[in-house]
């Protein structure tokens, strides 16, 4: 049993206490948007707080690309803190004394929910890259199955950032009578060509890596030797999540070896560069840890689902998509986010306004780029904003 929690984010304190991920399997599976039927479907999830007798206090947290079901508290076995622990817990922005908070790993993920690492019942081997392509809508449908199973008919709120924000929006559109409110953070109603381009480069890094491909269908999970392609994909992604300002403040042009007066003028012993600047070693570290905790086929499947996300195309225009929304909406963007800039949030807001929906919009002046909602320095602002909004929802 670990003694001190391992901190991912400085202000996370694991206040909620020890938690363990639960699993539920839906033998009937689900019909995917592509037409394929996928069964069975297992969902990894965690819950925090208590469901009220009226069953009206449930808040669904939807994670971003690399997240998982462990959003808050301290993991019983690994001792790790939840990825949004600073926001979720007793007395926090999403107050577990008031709300019954649910978070699940997305379909296609690699943290317990059915995905490329799961065994394909037809071949008795892991799906690997033969896992069917999925959409944001499929992910949301699986969450709806989980919410049903937990005995919740109508969510008080669904909230997510980035890919999670897309799904929060998808929830409001797909299940208008099951969502009282939705918070859409740093998201878009359609992925931009720039976003598609970055995802394509990331996947290409994986595709060009011979190590990954050769072992893609072999039966082994975390122990599998994942190629560096995934690390490169993560590095590219990570650059897009940060702002230029953050990089300047965090790393500047500092060199990795602080005792060195100047450049090494060397590419290292075998001509394989280890990175000389701090920003390089930071990215290297991000890439390495990602290789250890993520699956490259999940990366492919999930980024494809993000690429496919286009509500305009799916509904014949955003106005049409939002016609039936009844949830109270809060759309949040970050001034320093250049991956999903404010204009993309405003496109959502304006289409909602055109349909005379109850929408609030806040662009937050936070300098940390797309990932601002995860950065601790932004948590006090996010806490008063989201805490205040949740309170105002009836």
């Amino acid at each position: 049993m670990p003694t001190a929690p391992i901190k991912e984010y400085a202000d996370s304190d694991g206040l909620y206490g020890r938690v363990s991920t639960q699993y539920v399997t839906f033998e009937e599976g689900l019909q995917l948007e592509s037409g394929t039927h996928l069964s069975p479907v297992t969902v990894a999830y965690e819950t925090y707080g208590t469901l009220s007798p009226e069953r009206d206090n449930a808040v669904l947290i939807v994670h971003a690309l690399s997240g998982d079901a462990h959003a808050a508290g301290i993991d019983e076995t690994t001792g790790k803190l939840g990825w949004w622990d600073a926001m979720i817990g007793p007395g926090k922005g999403i107050d577990t004394n008031k709300y019954f908070v649910i978070c699940s790993n997305c379909l296609g993920g690699c943290k317990g929910t059915t995905g490329p690492r799961s065994i394909n019942p037809e071949t008795s081997k892991p799906f690997g890259r033969s896992f069917p392509l999925i959409t944001m809508g499929d992910m949301v449908n699986v969450q709806a199955m989980l919410v049903d199973r937990l005995g919740v008919r109508r969510l008080h709120n669904v909230i997510g950032g980035s890919m999670g924000g897309m799904q929060a929006l998808e929830w409001a559109v797909r299940y208008p009578d099951r969502v009282a409110s939705a918070v859409v953070i740093a998201a878009t109603a359609r992925l931009s060509p720039q976003g598609i381009a970055f995802n394509w480069v990331g996947r290409n890094a994986i595709y060009s890596d011979p190590a990954g491909r050769a072992e893609a269908t072999e039966e082994s999970s975390f122990a599998r030797k994942v190629g560096r392609g995934l690390a490169v994909a993560r590095m590219i992604g990570h650059i897009t999540y940060l702002s230029e300002e953050t990089m300047e403040a965090k790393f500047g042009r500092k060199l990795k070896l602080k005792d060195m007066d100047g450049y090494s003028y060397s590419l290292g012993e075998n001509g394989t560069e280890g990175g000389e600047f701090e920003v390089e070693s930071y990215l290297e570290h991000q890439g390495q840890t990602f290789m250890e905790r993520f699956d490259e086929d999940s990366y492919i499947i999930i980024t494809k689902a993000i690429d496919y996300f286009d509500m305009e195309r799916a509904h014949g225009g955003l106005h049409n998509a939002f016609k039936n929304i009844s949830a109270k909406m809060l759309v949040i963007s970050f001034s320093s986010d250049w991956l999903y800039p404010t204009a993309m949030s405003l496109a959502i807001v304006r289409a909602l306004q055109a349909q005379k929906k109850d929408v609030s919009f806040v662009e937050l002046d936070l300098p940390y780029g797309h990932d601002s909602f995860l950065v601790n320095a932004g948590i006090p602002t996010m806490t008063s904003l989201i805490g205040g909004f949740l309170k105002s929802v009836r």
Binding site: L330, L346, V349, R350, Q353, A354, K356, D358, V359, S360, F361, V362, E363, L364, D365, T381, S384, L385, G387, G388, F389, K391, S392
Partner: protein, 209 residues
């Protein structure tokens, strides 16, 4: 003199006289858009006293957060960028209180207000007030007192106007003045005599012609 008249502007800032004037103009149970809504004080009062469905627009982040905490619908937008996305005639009233003279593009915004609302309510400090005029005339400097407490180089009031200017302006953009209320010695009066020289504030109910 200035210390004494400085509080000419206070009534609107302290939400007492000014807000009451606005609140009295608004029919219960309507939709109200408050531009430059601050922390949402007016909208909260309107919700409590007149059962209105409100929405605010504010640029200051801290004030926007306060609105959300109060459960007031709000958009963080820059009024100088207009009201893109707000559908035509989607509010019974669009309110612009104390902000007209601070806009870079007042004509653009007021035109937009007439598009978005059935009626608009605009309040502004009257720079035609006799004290200001007297300061300008006798001292030969931009007035610093009462309705305009800041020196020229640091005032947010970049577009000072008088009540006569405002009447001309509304005519020019094709609006109709339905009701004029003037604050004279901190007391609201319907269409006060010699308002352009006596009123500290003008409060106007206008509609598109």
């Amino acid at each position: 003199m200035c210390a004494e008249v400085r509080n000419i502007r206070t009534p609107f800032h302290e939400f007492a006289v000014g807000f009451n004037v606005i609140i009295n103009l608004i029919e219960p149970g309507t939709r109200v858009l408050d531009l430059g809504c601050g922390s949402g004080t007016l909208l909260q009062r309107l919700r409590e006293e007149k059962n209105i469905e409100g929405c605010g627009v504010e640029l200051d982040q801290a004030k926007v957060l306060r609105c959300i905490e109060r459960g007031i619908r709000v958009m963080r937008l820059d009024l100088d960028e207009g009201l893109e996305g707000f559908p035509n005639k989607s509010y019974e009233y669009v309110v612009l209180s104390r902000t007209l003279q601070q806009l870079t593009y007042p004509e653009k915004l007021v035109t937009e207000m007439l598009r978005v609302g059935f009626k608009s309510i605009i309040t502004f400090p009257n720079f035609g007030h006799w004290r200001a005029a007297l300061q300008y005339l006798l001292k030969g400097r931009m007035p610093v007192c009462g309705a305009h407490p800041h020196p020229w180089h640091s005032t947010p009031d970049i577009h000072p106007l008088t009540i006569s200017d405002f009447r001309d302006f509304i005519r020019k953009i094709g609006g109709t003045i339905e009701k004029e209320i003037h604050i004279v010695n901190s007391v609201p009066r319907d269409d006060a005599f010699w308002a352009n020289r006596r009123a500290e504030w003008g409060c106007y109910l206008i509609s598109a012609s």
